[in-house]
Structure formats: structure tokens, C-alpha cells
């Protein structure tokens, strides 16, 4: 595959190129791919590997010339996770980083738009982390709020 030849490492997975990257070299690799036809940034996704104490960020890129999908996987420690922002390469990365910051609590250095995005007034553990106990949270918040009304016929 073109991208694997270009970067010099990685493997083919289900018809896509999967390349594991160190956080330091990510910027250069995205830049190199962008210059060589991979100019469509598809999405940025995040995986929480709780047992390994790692976060994995996956940068998906697509080339219209060779019709090839590249996944760049970056792993980082789970505690105080932070990454340099890539939003200067593709502007849409800013919004993906904003969402991941809200849902996983990863800091993106250089992105100054990490404001609340989808959640309303959230003060707790970021909800998509594996150690967030959703059921316990629901019991604490929503189930503890009482029903209103004295008898059943009132207002139906």
C-alpha cells in the first residue's frame, strides 16, 4: 500500500493501512501523508484501554488518488494524558479534539477552543472513560429525584 511504503512501517488490516506512531513523530507523518495525496481527514477517534492504562487516538486519513484509508494510531499514558494539537494541519481536527477533550479528558496542547461542547454543566469524570460508572451516576442523580403529586388521579 502506498502509505506503508511512504512511511516505511505499518501493516495492512482489512484493506486499510494501520500504522502505529509515536506521539513525537505524528505531526511529521500527517504532514508527509498530506503532501502525498492523503488530503482528506476523515475523523479522529479515541479508545480507552483501561487494563493497559493507555489511551489510543486514531487519526483516519483518506486518499482520493489511490483510494486508500490510513489509520494512524497513537498511544499515550492514561494519567494526565495530553497530545499536541494537529488543528493547524486540518482545521476540522479542532472540533474532534474538543469532543474528545470533553468525553475522555485528554488535553490537546495548542488547541485553545476546548470549551464545553455537548454536555451541559458537567463537573464529573468524563463520561466515555471506562472507569466512569454510568449506572451508579444514574442512580445518584436521576433516580434520586422524587415524583411530584399527592395522589394518582392528580393531573394523571
Amino acid at each position: 500500500m502506498k502509505s506503508i511504503e511512504l512511511i516505511g512501517k505499518g501493516k495492512e488490516m482489512h484493506g486499510r493501512a494501520y500504522i502505529e506512531v509515536m506521539p513525537g513523530e505524528l505531526e511529521d507523518i500527517i504532514k508527509k501523508l498530506k503532501e502525498n495525496g492523503f488530503n482528506h481527514f476523515v475523523m479522529l477517534s479515541c479508545i480507552d484501554w483501561l487494563e493497559e492504562e493507555k489511551f489510543e487516538l486514531v487519526y483516519h486519513l483518506w486518499s482520493y488518488e489511490v483510494k486508500e484509508h490510513v489509520m494512524l494510531s497513537v498511544r499515550m499514558n492514561r494519567n494526565n494524558a495530553s497530545m499536541p494539537s494537529m488543528s493547524h494541519l486540518f482545521p476540522q481536527i479542532e472540533t474532534y479534539e474538543r469532543e474528545i477533550h470533553e468525553m475522555y479528558g485528554i488535553e490537546f496542547d495548542g488547541n485553545n477552543r476546548l470549551t464545553p461542547f455537548l454536555l451541559e454543566n458537567w463537573h464529573h469524570t468524563p463520561p466515555m472513560r471506562k472507569d466512569f460508572d454510568s449506572e451508579k451516576f444514574v442512580g445518584k442523580l436521576y433516580e434520586s429525584i422524587p415524583f411530584i403529586g399527592e395522589d394518582e388521579n392528580e393531573g394523571i
Binding site: 454536555l119 469524570t125 463520561p127 415524583f147 394523571i156
Partner: protein
């Protein structure tokens, strides 16, 4: 207290009974389309099921509407908007809640972000069970609401006035939820 029609005085109770009988035949509906329920509304509105047969018409603004139709799950963020819309409506006003999600959370029962029981935040007159309810179910719920209005049982808006403080307290709790004790983790 009463109202003169010709030289005959109608008592307030009689008048409100007549008013209910008439107003139930022209329910103007504001459909607050959240979640997946919105997809069931076009068939109900358009020629196949044609809800205007029953005097139900979609309305553009909350101030013109009698019925607030909530079509599916609500996140905390949307609930804030729903309450604004509900409080803009003029009395008498009714709420129809649509689908399992508004009853007890439905398939989002353990989600961190959807409120589970709509009834805790605004009064609900009629629930439609199902995930999703069919258009027939929606029309059936409107007919049920008409019966309740006719019998004087659809009194959700009076309940909201009566327990206003309690509703506000519940709403405040869900909007400003803070962890009790700083070290508690979720």
C-alpha cells in the same frame, strides 16, 4: 361568578364545561422533535393518517399551541429548552409524552445524559408507550386526551402551578448536579 348568554346567566362551572367541550375539538400541537419520534410525525400529519380530521394541527410557536408533544428521549441540555417552551405556552396546556424513553428512560435507562422520567420535571397528561409508537397510537393518544379534557381530568397545567416550587427544585437539581463530597468518583 358567571357569564350572561342572552338573559340567562351561566355559572362558571357550566361555562368551563362548555369551553372544554368546544376546545377539545381544536387541539393545536407544538411538536418538540427530540430523539427518534420525529420520524413518526410526517405520516400522522400528511394525507395517509391525516390528523386534521380530528382538529389537530401543527403550530409554529409555543404561544399558539395547546399541546406540547415530546417525541422521545431528552438530554439534560434539551430539557432546559423544553421547560422554556412549556412555560411560554398559555394555559390550558397539555403534554403528550411519546415513547418508552419519556416513561422510564427506555433503552437509555443507564445513560449518563438522558433524563429518565419526564414526569419529574414537567407534568405529563398522556403517555404513549412503545418504541416507537405507530401513527395509530399517536392519534389514539390524542383521542384519549380529548376524552380527558372533556371530563376535566387533563389538569397537568394546574398541577404545575400548584407544585411550582417542587418542579423548580427538581429542575434545579438535575441542572446543577454537584458531587457531594469532593473525593467521590463516578
Amino acid at each position: 361568578m358567571g357569564l350572561y348568554i342572552g338573559d340567562k346567566m351561566m355559572k362558571y362551572e357550566e361555562w368551563s364545561k362548555l369551553a372544554r367541550k368546544v376546545s377539545k375539538k381544536s387541539l393545536w400541537m407544538l411538536h418538540f422533535c427530540t430523539g427518534c419520534g420525529a420520524i413518526e410525525m410526517p405520516p400522522v400529519m400528511t394525507s395517509r393518517y391525516d390528523m386534521e380530521r380530528f382538529g389537530i394541527a401543527p403550530m409554529a410557536t409555543p404561544r399558539q399551541a395547546d399541546v406540547l408533544l415530546i417525541t422521545g428521549y431528552l438530554t439534560v441540555k434539551t430539557l432546559r429548552r423544553v421547560i422554556q417552551v412549556y412555560e411560554q405556552m398559555q394555559s390550558p396546556k397539555y403534554v403528550i409524552a411519546f415513547g418508552s424513553c419519556t416513561i422510564n428512560g427506555g433503552m437509555y435507562w443507564d445513560s449518563y445524559n438522558t433524563i429518565k422520567h419526564l414526569e419529574k420535571y414537567i407534568p405529563v397528561d398522556v403517555y404513549i408507550a412503545g418504541c416507537m409508537p405507530r401513527p395509530e397510537g399517536i392519534i389514539n393518544a390524542f383521542i384519549k386526551l380529548m376524552e380527558l379534557i372533556d371530563e376535566g381530568k387533563a389538569r397537568g397545567w394546574e398541577k404545575y402551578q400548584k407544585y411550582y416550587d417542587k418542579y423548580k427544585e427538581n429542575q434545579r437539581r438535575v441542572f446543577n448536579f454537584e458531587i457531594e463530597g469532593e473525593n467521590e468518583e463516578y
